[in-house]
Symmetry: C2
Subunit: 506 residues, 2 copies
Amino acid sequence: MSGTATTSLAPARERLTTLVAESVDLRHAADLVEWDERVYMPTGGAPVHGEMSATLRRLAHEKFTSAEVGDALAATEAAIEDDADSDEGRTIAITRREFDKATRVPADFVAEHARVVSAAQHAWGETRAASDFAAFRPHLERIIGLKRQYVTFFPPSEHAYDVLIDDYEPGMKTSQVKAVFDALRGRQVELVRRLAERPQLDDRFLRAPFDEQDLIDFSVDVITAFGFDFSRGRQDKSLHPFCTSFGADDVRITTRFVDAYPLSLLFGTMHETGHALYEQGVSPQYQRTMLEGGASLGIHESQSRLWENIVGRSLPFWEHFFPRLQQRFPSQLRGITLEQFYRAINRVERSLIRVEADEATYNLHVMLRVELEIALIAGELEPADLEEAWNGRMREYLGVTPPNAAKGVLQDIHWSAGLFGYFGTYTLGNVIAAQLARTFRAQHPALDDDLRRGDASSLLAWLRTNLHQHGRKFQPSELVQRITGGGIDPAPYLEYLEEKYLAVYA
Amino acid sequence: MSGTATTSLAPARERLTTLVAESVDLRHAADLVEWDERVYMPTGGAPVHGEMSATLRRLAHEKFTSAEVGDALAATEAAIEDDADSDEGRTIAITRREFDKATRVPADFVAEHARVVSAAQHAWGETRAASDFAAFRPHLERIIGLKRQYVTFFPPSEHAYDVLIDDYEPGMKTSQVKAVFDALRGRQVELVRRLAERPQLDDRFLRAPFDEQDLIDFSVDVITAFGFDFSRGRQDKSLHPFCTSFGADDVRITTRFVDAYPLSLLFGTMHETGHALYEQGVSPQYQRTMLEGGASLGIHESQSRLWENIVGRSLPFWEHFFPRLQQRFPSQLRGITLEQFYRAINRVERSLIRVEADEATYNLHVMLRVELEIALIAGELEPADLEEAWNGRMREYLGVTPPNAAKGVLQDIHWSAGLFGYFGTYTLGNVIAAQLARTFRAQHPALDDDLRRGDASSLLAWLRTNLHQHGRKFQPSELVQRITGGGIDPAPYLEYLEEKYLAVYA
C-alpha cells in the first residue's frame, strides 16, 4: 500500500485490510478444498468436501458483504487523499466495486440461482447423455430468466449483457465484444475455408502410443524453461486440467493424459502454465488483498494462449525442443522432420467440439456461443429456437452440422452452470495474446532467436514487468492500453493467424 | 439424532446443529490445509497456508463460542426431555462441556499462549541443536506459568493437573493416571532389566537396504487386510507420519521411509492405520456433529497400538505375512526363519529416545515425562531442576544416562508446543489396547487362527460395534467400562508384556 492516507484513517483502513484478508483466506481455503477434491480426495469424501467448500464460500461472502466492511470502506473512502492510481486508491475502488456488486444481489436470488443451477447441471448430464435438448430446455429457460432478473439489480447499461460480461471481464461492454467479433468473423471463416481446400496435413504419427510419465517429464522440462517456479507451485494430475492459486506463492496446475492424442498433455500443461506464470508474477505485496490474482478471465486467457500457442506451437520453440522430444520418443518420431512435426501440431480441422478445436477454428466456436447468449439475454432468441440457431451457425462458420444435440448445443457445461458472459473471454484472450506478442517483438526483435535456444526468459521478464506484477490493479482495457498504447484490437491476431496458417498449409 | 425433543424446541436445536456443523466445516478445512502443508505444499506456500489455517481456526473458535451458540444451547437444554444417554442428550452435554471450556479461557490468554508457544517452539529448535537446556529454560518457565494460570480458569479440581489432562482425556483424573503408573512402573522396570540380562537379539538383517516403494506396496497389502478403506481414505508420504480426518469418509494417513530402519515404514503405517480404522468406523450420522471423531487421545492410541503391536508384532500375524514379505524381499530375508524375524522385530533396547523406543520400554519414557509434568504443575519441581530430574529417572527406569540435553530433556517438541497433559495418553493407550484384546479374545478365542490366515476382520468388526461407531459419545472410562465391564486396568497389559517378552527372550 502506498502511504496516501491521513493518519486519522488508520483504524478504518486497518480494519478493512484485515476483513478483506480474512475473506481472502476463506476463499483460498475453499480453492484448496476444491483443488483437493479434483486431485487427491478419496471418492467417499465428496459430501464432506461439498459441505466444507459451501460453508467457506458462504462465510467468505458474508464476511466481505458485512456491514462492518461497508462502514470501514465508507470511512476509508471519505478520508483517503485523491490518489486514485495508487495501490491504495485502486484497492478501495475495487473493494467498492465488488462490495456494491455483492450487496446488490439479494440473498434469496443467490439461493434460488444455486438451486436452479444445481438441478440444471444434473439435468445437463442426463440430457446430454440422451442427446435430448428438449428435455434440457426448461432448465435453460429458468436460468435465462434468472440472468435477465440478475441484470435488473444493476444500474441500466448500454446492453443488458454488459452486466453479465462484467463479472468476468470488468468494464468490458457488449458493443466492444461485438466489434472485435465483427472484425474477426469474416476473415477467420474465410481463412478456415481456404485451409480446408488445401491438401490436408498428416498427423497420424502423433496418435501413436506415448508413455505418460515420459510426456510428463518432458513437459516439466518445457515449463521449467518457461519459468514455472516449482518452489512456489506444483503439478498434479486430474480429470480436467486447471490452474488454481492461493496467492502468488502457491500456484498449482494439473494435467491429464489422453490416449487418443497423447501430446495434448504437453499443450495442456503449457496452457495451464501460462495461467500459473501470471499468478506467480503478481506483486508479493498484493497477497491477501483485493489486488491479488489476475485482472480478468480474458487477460488470464491471453497468458495461457500466449504460452500454449504463440510460443508452444511456434517453429522457433520446436527448433530447440523437437530434437529433445525426438530423443525421448525415438520410436514414435523416427524419421519425422521438424517441419513435419511443426505442421502436424498445427493441423486445422473444422470440427464439432469446442474443447477439441485447434487454434485456427477455436474463436468460431466461441463467437457462435456468445452471439447466441447475447440474443437470448436480449430476448431476441428463445431457448426453443436455440438448437436450430446453433446448428445454422455451425454450418455458416465451420461448414459442419452436429449430428445430435450432444455434439452440438448440449456439449458445454457452462450454460447449465449459469455461466453467461464467460465464453467471450476465450476469444478476447486470443486477441490480446497476439497484441502482447506484437508489442514485445517490436521492443525485442530477438524473441525467436531466444526461443531457438530454449530461452523464454526475455518474454517472461517483460510480461512480469508490464502485466503480471499488477495483479488486478488495472482493468483489462486499461492494461492493454498501458502495454500496447491502444485498445483491444483484433488486427494483430488476424495477421498472426493468416501468416502462420497460410504458411503451415503452403 | 434420536427424537427426544419437544417440537417447540425445533428452531433452537436446528440453529445449534447448523452452527456446530459450520464450525466443524471450518475445523475440517483447517485440518485439510495442515494436511496439505505437510504432504504436498510447495515450500513457498508456508506463509499463506499459515494465514489460512490461523483464520480458519480462529473463525471456528469464534463461531463455536458465539453468543448465538450459547443461546441456542441454553434453549435446547431447557427444552429437551431427560434422555441423557440418547445421541441428542450426549450431543448437548458435550456441546455444553466444550462451550464452557472454550468460553472460560479469556481471548487475551489464548493470544498470549499462542505468542509464548510460538517463540518457545522456535527456541526449542535452536536450543536442542545446541543441546543447551539453560537457554530453553526461560521459555519453559513462561509456559508452565501459563499452564498454572490456565488451571485457575476452571473450577477447583482434585489436582491442578486434572484440568490439563481433561483437554486430551475427558474426565480422566491425575489420581487415576498415577494409579495406573504405580501399577506399571515396578513390574515394567523389572521386566526390562531382566531382558537386558539375557542374551541380546540380532536384528542386523533388518538394517539392510529395503526398497521404499516395495515396502509401501507391502504395507498397502497389510492395511488392506486390516480393513483400511481406500475409497474413504488415502496414504501419502510426509516427514513425520500422522493421521487426519475430515469426518469418517475421508481419513488420511501418512508414512515415511527411514534408511536406518526401513521396516519402521511398515510399523508406522500399521500404527496410523489403527487411528484411521477408528475414524472410518465412526457412525456416519455423527458427521459434522460434536460426536464425530475419537473419544480421546488415549482411546485413539489404544487403536494404533492394538494394530501396530498386539496384531502387527504378533507371531500369528507374521505366520501369514512373513512368507509374503520374504517373497518381496528375497535377498534381505534369505535364510531368515519366521522365528528369527519375529524376535528381531520385537528386540528390546534400553535407549534414550522415546520415538525410537520399543514396545517394552515405551511406557517408561512416558511415565518419566508425566511424573515430571505433574510435579512442575504442582510446583513441586522447578524448571531449573528439570534436567537433573530427567536424567535421574532415566537411570532409574532405563539404566541409561543422556549424554546431553538434546538426547534427554530437550528431545520432544511437546512442552515447547504447550502440550502439558498429553504424554500420559500414550501409556493409557497401551493399557487400554491390552484390555480390549483380552476382552475380545475371551469372546472370540480364534483370533490367532484368523490372523494366521491373514484375516483381521473379526477383530475389526468387534471394534466397530463396540468402540468405533460411538465416536465421542462416551468418555474414555465409560467406554472401557461398557466394553470390558471394568475400569482402566494395567493388569492385562503387564501380563501381555511379560508373557510376550519373556518368550521372545527365552
